[in-house]
Amino acid sequence: MIAVLRPLLTLLGLLLLWQGIVWLFALPPYILPAPHRVALALVEHAGLLFREATVTVAEMLLGLLFGTLLGASAALGLLVSAVARRWLLPLLVASQAVPVFALAPLLVLWFGFGMASKIMMAMLVIFFPVAMALYDGLRRTEAGWLDLAHVMTADLPQHRLRILRHIRLMAALPAFASGLKIAAAVAPIGAVIGEWVGASAGLGFRMMQANARVQTDLMFAALIVLAVCAIALYAGVDAITRRLLRWQPDSHASLLADKNS
């Protein structure tokens, strides 16, 4: 019971703090609107916010899908090809030195004001954590398992793909799951940055519009919807990876779990 109440109590505490700051500093609504004003804006603009949210969520999901596919392909390419390791790996690492946000205007220029440029943006931020996490996981297969597979298949080349699939890939799943969770956490950043730079729809676009018109309450409402979408995305990915990794004993969960609840 207390486990259900705890996040609600935390939320209530944060709302009280927010209200307290508004009162204490007597802030005008266009600087920091009180919680009830934001709640009113949420209700008033519910339809609009829902439409914008569907755009942003679609961008996040498609970015996550394509970014993960691209990242996983790169990881597999790095694993099987020494040429890829020599040429692609330094390029990958160097590419992360370029701030992806600086590329946003270019992406909008090349891919237009529609969803494509935002999906590209999300892909760019998702690709790297997925590729690196999976590549690391694929390289760290327990040596004994590979020895065993080596003897079982007499090291015949026609069986190597099955060793990759049944042992290396499965053993890399926990690392891949970590990469995927980071990707889920950064996907909203990619989509919203893309929308800030140039868009005609989406929560990020609506926030910029509201900001320009000093509709600070609407801006906060859009921010809350965005946060809820981002948390839902993360929770969804977390649930899927947990399901895939049911075999993995989760020692951390028992550390965090409260024995009294």
Binding site: G144, D147, L148, H150, M152, H159, H166, I167
Partner: protein
């Protein structure tokens, strides 16, 4: 000093002539050239101090050393000190791993039968994490037998188990491996005396094989049999000599 004790080796047609040209890690020669015959149903134990090269010898036979082709690799099954069970597969799926990796249809009935003979019939669908160390190593034994190869290479397969569990699994393994040729690498002289037909000690730098004893009679032997005492003594002598603490 080789000690021929008890009676000569029981007649046993040699099935394998296991030999190697030695092995070096870089400039450091680990293993001298070696050769020995192994009967179709014979168990040979190889003893040695830690780091003497006995695992290297077994890996050489299994084709696990880089750049060295082993002509026995496709006739051998491998069992290591760790159970090497894949944590995402059930016991049954782990026992069937070889077929899965070779793309062969799985012989589920035989796998279940093997698990049953090792007392794991009701755990066939459990994940390895839910089992004790002894049960996991019994599953590893079932997986080794499932491979159905004439030569079984065992690298200290029982050394991570407690004494009582170890004796129980030694008995099981001895019965189930009776019709195969076995090379058992171990650091435990008592285990060698219980399970082996012939006992070698790996000594020297680089390490070479020295036959210590040839034993007869049914296996597994009673570890408290006084007739084994002189053999244990000569193994200890050879091992101490090898370790330089004579």
């Amino acid at each position: 000093m080789p000690v021929d004790s008890l009676s000569p080796v029981a007649p046993n047609p040699p099935a394998f002539r296991l030999e190697g040209t030695g092995f070096a890690y870089g400039r450091h020669a680990v293993l001298a050239p070696f050769a020995f015959d192994l009967g179709t149903t014979e168990t040979v134990a190889i003893l040695g101090t830690s780091g003497c090269g006995k695992s290297t010898l077994l890996r050489l036979l299994a084709g696990l050393l880089p750049g060295i082709h082993s002509p026995w690799a496709d006739k051998a099954a491998w069992m290591a000190q760790q159970d090497l069970l894949l944590p995402w597969l059930s016991l049954l799926e782990n026992v069937l791993l070889g077929a899965r990796l070779r793309g062969e249809p799985p012989d589920t009935a035989r796998a279940r039968n093997l698990l049953a003979r090792l007392g794991l019939a009701d755990r066939a669908n459990a994940l390895p994490a839910a089992l004790s160390g002894g049960m996991r190593q019994r599953t590893a034994l079932a997986r080794t037998l499932m491979e159905d190869r004439p030569l079984v290479l065992m690298d200290e397969p029982f050394s991570a188990l407690d004494a009582i569990t170890r004796i129980a699994i030694q008995d099981l393994a001895c019965g189930l491996l009776a019709d195969r040729a076995v090379v058992l690498v171990t650091h435990d002289p008592a285990e060698a005396c219980r399970l082996a037909d012939r006992i070698f000690v790996l000594t020297g730098q680089p390490a070479g094989l020295q036959q210590i004893a040839a034993l007869s009679g049914p296996r597994p032997r009673d570890p408290l049999d006084p007739a084994l005492l002189p053999i244990l003594r000569s193994i200890h002598g050879a091992l101490k000599l090898a370790a330089g603490v004579a």
